[in-house]
């Protein structure tokens, strides 16, 4: 069902999305305003979702958007709202983010990237182009990986309890027993 030029177009889309993901990430990490950074991060995640889709993993792409960009980022938004940092937070961030604070992390990151690139280029390969359907993922997930599902559920339960515990005391103190 391919029309001519489709492959060309998809490839362009792929590299474009990759570039957007990288750029949005870099912008997100250098912002001083947390809300702005969060928007960039969501853009980055959406771009990655596009990559997933193009690589033949539509289920992963959907989860990336629904859970990552949706649920998790919304959590961030809530916390930013509760902290209510405002302009003072921006100013302080600008003080902290002098260019020289980036020197050592930048050097380390660049060296690491160079190493990884070196390692990657030694074993060239290509993606298969096959699509893995949600049905297949579901069969595998509840087949051989059922133990991992259980462990993940335990992890989520632990996260739930932890978050409730930490957050409850915050609420108790600040809102004086409203609950």
């Amino acid at each position: 069902m391919q029309y001519p030029g489709q492959s060309q177009m998809m490839e362009t889309l792929f590299y474009g999305a990759g570039a957007i993901a990288l750029a949005a990430t870099l912008l997100a990490l250098t912002r001083t305003n947390a809300a702005h950074a969060l928007i960039y991060l969501i853009v980055s995640l959406l771009a990655v979702a596009v990559l997933f889709f193009l690589m033949g993993a539509p289920f992963a792409a959907a989860l990336e958007i629904v859970i990552y960009a949706g649920a998790i980022m919304v959590l961030f938004v809530f916390v930013i709202m509760m902290l209510n940092l405002g302009e003072a937070g921006d100013t302080r961030e600008r003080q902290w983010l002098q260019p020289r604070t980036w020197i050592l992390p930048g050097i380390l990151a660049a060296a690491l990237l160079a190493q990884l690139a070196l390692a990657l280029w030694q074993t060239p390969a290509s993606t298969s182009g096959l699509e893995v359907s949600p049905r297949e993922v579901g069969r595998t997930l509840f087949g051989p990986y059922v133990l991992a599902v259980e462990i993940a559920s335990m992890l989520l339960l632990a996260g739930l309890v932890g978050a409730y515990h930490l957050g409850r005391r915050y609420i108790d103190r600040d809102s004086g027993g409203e609950q």
Binding site: L41, A71, T127, A163, L166
Partner: protein, 104 residues
């Protein structure tokens, strides 16, 4: 719809770039909120690498690991953000360099 065939190393390089960007952010930022975001970026980069590897073989395993990473990220963020609130309450700042009572 058939997937796209691209060199695996390109995807992996992108994942590596995202990962080191997150790492650099983690090392450079002092605000715990941004550090958590950097962690999200790094986790997402790892997830990208897994999905790409799954696509390399046309197998579902990569996506399953992606889902596990997703649960880890969700749990980590819920606990991490709870901690952010506590840090703000106790230290009246989000500066992690101030919250260094664990020093030896």
């Amino acid at each position: 719809m058939a997937g796209l065939q691209v060199p695996l190393e390109h995807v992996m390089l992108l994942a590596a770039a995202l990962f080191v960007a997150g790492l650099a952010g983690l090392m450079a930022r002092r605000n715990i909120l941004f550090m958590l975001m950097s962690l999200e970026v790094m986790l997402n980069a790892a997830a990208l690498a897994f999905v790409a590897a799954g696509a390399r073989w046309g197998q579902p395993d990569g996506q399953i690991v992606f889902m596990l990473i997703l649960t880890v990220a969700a749990a980590e963020v819920s606990v991490g953000l709870g901690l952010v609130l506590q840090v703000q309450r106790r230290f009246k700042t989000l500066d992690m360099d101030q919250a260094n009572r664990l020093r030896g």
